[in-house]
Structures are given as C-alpha cells and as structure tokens.
C-alpha cells in the first residue's frame, strides 16, 4: 500500500521510555534521516524548521507547544465530524449490555471507560460534559505524552468536568478499564504491535474495547487532504493527517488482528455496509463472548451494520451469520465463545 512506508512526524519528534514514561531526547538529524529514507521531503522541510539546542536535540518545550496546537486543531475536526456522537452510537449499547450481564451476575457498576492515547482528551471531556454514558461510568483518559495529558487535565478542570487524565500505560493495573476506547490511534501500530495492542486488552479484566480509526477507503486520502487543508493551519497537522489516511488499516487487517483469545472481534460499519461519505471513522469492537448477544440486542437494528471475521470468509458464510444474528444472536455468542 502507498502509505505503508510513510511516517507521521508527530510519531518521530517525541519519545518516551516505555518503562518509566520519562521523556527521551530526540535528535532532529535522526528524524530528518528517517523521513528522508521514507522519501518524504516535505516532512523533512517541516522538521528542519523545528528549533534545536546546541547538540541538535529538538527543543522539548517547542515540540510540546506544537503538538498541543496541532491536537487543538485536530479536535476541531472531531467536533465537526461529531466523533462524540459517533462513539456513543456503539459504546452506549455496549455499556447497556455490560450492565445487563453484570446485573445477572450480581456485578453492578461503577464502570470505567479508558480512552487510550487520549491526546487532549476531547472524547472523554465531551462524554463528561454531555453525561452521554450515564453517571455510573467513570471517564479516564491515558496518554504517553505528558504535555498532552497535562493540557487535557487543565481543560477538564477549567470547565469543571468530571473526568481525569493519567500519564502512562493504559493497560496498567491502576487504570483497569471496563471498556477501552480510542480514536485515530490504531494506524500508529504497525506489524505485530497491532496484535499485541489487542492482546493486552484481552489479557486485562476489560469487558470490551471499541477503537475508532480512519476507514481505509479510496476516498480517505483525498478527503483527509481536503479537510486538513481547509481546517488546519499547522503544516505538521496537514502532513500527518494525510499520512494517517494512507496508513489506515483495512477492515480485514483490523478484524484479524483483533480476533484474540477471549474476545469476539466485530467491525462496525465496514466498507460495503456503510457509505464512505458518511463514515469517515469506524470502530473495531471486541467483546467478551457472553456479551455479544446482549450487545447486539442493545444495538437493535444497527446490529446489522456489524460483522465478524466470517464477513471475509465468503458471501455464503456472511449470509448465514447474518441470519443467525437476526434470529437472536445466541448462535453468534456461542461462536464467539469458542474463540
């Protein structure tokens, strides 16, 4: 694919120690070298304008300010594309299903939603401001970038929102989630890292995950170019926006990577079942097998927009799976339990 070799500048200009979360120095020449190797001279020109110290290390303060500015502009896109509403569309019924199953097992709330790689925490703050998931859902945003987390926390406190933000690893025991969510994160994981990301959630006590990312359609790169050109001023944001669309994982790649033991992987609004002009981002969802049937019931008619791995096994299998789902979902839940 065209975008596989392309790199996002924002991935390269910050680095943290995976264990401690401490920030690591990043040399501009090294970033330039990697971008040049990928054949992206435009990105090279953008990075060359970033300030460095005498040793050629990128100025961390300038990088933080730049990334906060870019993420603030990105939030504008999320607002315009109504990402909050789009997320609640499947996640609301997901929590309904969790409440239903939890009630049957005598395990009520409170529950916790953790936004992985939350950036400025727009989704978490929007959910807090609208109370869209109900008062029994604690809202937490986690990110490895301390500056973005700090800004998210400042914004939440400025508006008196009931949510919190944590700098560090989203899958650590301290922030164990009922449901993990993310928006625009998955394309950052390449190769085996994508599968590891889903396996980490399956190994956690989480009941489900719901990760939105750019729908990998032929329209996506040109749409990304138009929107980032029309709505963003930062050159870095414009560049990374288009590269993100080029790097977006296909439906099949996401479904296969998310099909990890202990989770039933489902794709909501895949290509072919959704209008690409109406669905710029779509989620890969994972649920514990016993949750699938109540989740489909909670979704109602919208469950028809959701497919599992069998979607790519052949048209006959898909039709059979759809009939099973429409019949009540119990068969689907059973199939999930065997994974």
């Amino acid at each position: 694919m065209l975008g596989v070799g392309r790199l996002e500048i924002s991935d390269l200009i910050t680095a943290v120690d995976a264990g401690s979360g401490a920030r690591l120095p990043v040399r501009r020449d090294e970033v330039v070298r990697r971008l040049r190797e990928s054949g992206d001279e435009r990105a090279v020109r953008i990075v060359r304008r970033l300030p460095v110290d005498r040793d050629g290390v990128l100025d961390p303060g300038a990088v933080d300010r730049l990334l906060i500015g870019v993420h603030t502009e990105l939030q504008r896109l999320s607002e315009e594309l109504r990402i909050g509403e789009r997320l609640v569309d499947p996640v609301g019924p997901l929590f309904d299903a969790i409440r239903e199953v939890g009630g049957q097992n005598g395990q009520g709330g409170p529950y916790r939603l953790v936004d992985v790689g939350c950036g400025l925490g727009y989704v978490v703050r929007w959910l807090a401001a609208t109370n869209a998931l109900g008062p029994d859902v604690e809202l937490v945003g986690v990110d490895l970038d301390a500056a973005l987390v700090g800004e998210a926390d400042r914004l939440a406190r400025a508006e008196g929102l009931t949510c919190r933000f944590v700098h560090g690893n989203a899958f650590g025991p301290a922030e164990a989630a009922t449901v993990y969510v993310s928006t625009g994160l998955l394309h950052h994981f390449r190769g085996p890292a994508l599968g590891e990301f889903f396996r980490a959630q399956a190994a956690s006590p989480a009941q489900a995950f719901c990760h939105f990312d750019i729908a990998a359609t032929r329209l996506a790169p040109i749409g990304a170019w138009i929107f980032h050109r029309a709505r963003m001023r930062h050159r870095l944001g414009r560049h990374d926006g288009v590269v993100s669309a080029l790097r977006a994982h296909s439906d099949e790649t996401l479904l296969r990577a998310a099909a990890v033991p202990g989770m039933r992987a489902l794709l909501y609004e895949p290509g072919g079942l959704a209008n690409p002009f109406c669905t710029t981002l779509r989620p890969i969802i994972g649920v514990r097998p016993q949750l699938e049937a109540p989740f489909r019931r909670a979704l109602g008619r919208a469950a028809r927009r959701m497919v599992g791995e069998e979607h790519f096994a052949g048209a006959g299998v898909v039709a059979g799976a759809a009939v099973g789902v429409e019949a009540g979902g119990a068969a689907g839940a059973g199939a999930g339990a065997t994974r």
């Binding site: 502009e73 939030q75 400025l120 401001a129 508006e159 138009i226 002009f277 109406c278 669905t279």
Partner: protein, 170 residues
Amino acid sequence: MTPAVPLALLGLVDSAFSGFRAYAGRDARIRKRRAAVRAALRGLAVGAVLLAAPALAAVLVLLTASDRARTRHALAVGGFGYLLPLCVFAAVVLLSLAAYFVLPFRAGTFAVVVGLGPLTLLRPLAVGAACLGAVLNGGGWCALLVGAVAGAAVLCVEPLAHRRWYRDAQ
C-alpha cells in the same frame, strides 16, 4: 434596483463565518458557544471595515467616469452578474449547514465531507466566478475592478481576524 444591498449582506454574513473559522481550532474547550459568537462578531466587524474598500472603489470609479449614468448602469449590471454565482455558492453552503445541524450524525458527516469542507477551499474560486459573472453580464472593467476589490476584502477577513485575535491563542 441596486445589487449593492444583497452583495453587502452576503459579504457581512461571509465575514461572520470567516471570523468563526479564524477562531475554530484554537480553543479546545467543550463549551465555547459564547467564544464562537464573539469570533463571528469579530469577523463581522473586520468585514464591515474591509467592505468599505469596494464601496470606496465604486465611488471613485463613478466620480472619475466621463459618463456617470453609463458607468452607474455598468456597475449595476456587473453587480447582478457578480451576485449570481455567489448566490448559488451561498445556497449550497446554507443547504449543507442546514443538513449538518438538523440531520443525524451520519448525514451530518455527509454534509461536511461533500459540502462544508470542500466549499471552504472553493471560496476563492467562487469569488473568481463572481468576477467573471460581472464581466460576462456587461459590467466591464469597472465592475471587474470593484468586484475584485470586494472579493479580496472578503477573502482577507479570516486571515486578518486570525492574526489579530487567535494566532497565539491555545
């Protein structure tokens, strides 16, 4: 009948939207309706000042014309030619906006992807089409001059408002 009033109204409405765009993406709060309204009013104010430029240009053209009646007529017909493409553009924008605010989020996304996003980029082309309309409708060089000044004025509102109030905002 003169096209000056609808053209001025269109320019002022566009200026208010430009003010909003100058602000959008600079404020990461969730609740910011008041700030958005203030940005639109700032755009309106900048637009009101800048739109004096085409008005002044029209007055100068009239004052320096050898045949004022003919020049006045040329400006009027040119103004109508200028107005027509802009009305079409404005109608599409308003339709997209209505769809965005009224319809559910999927249809709203459609309105953004097909309408509002690309239309923002097409604003200079709309101004170009309006200038062409002014000439084709018989407005001549004087209508083209006033139209070009008016187009430059409305296109300058957003960068000026951004530079004045929002460039350093976070």
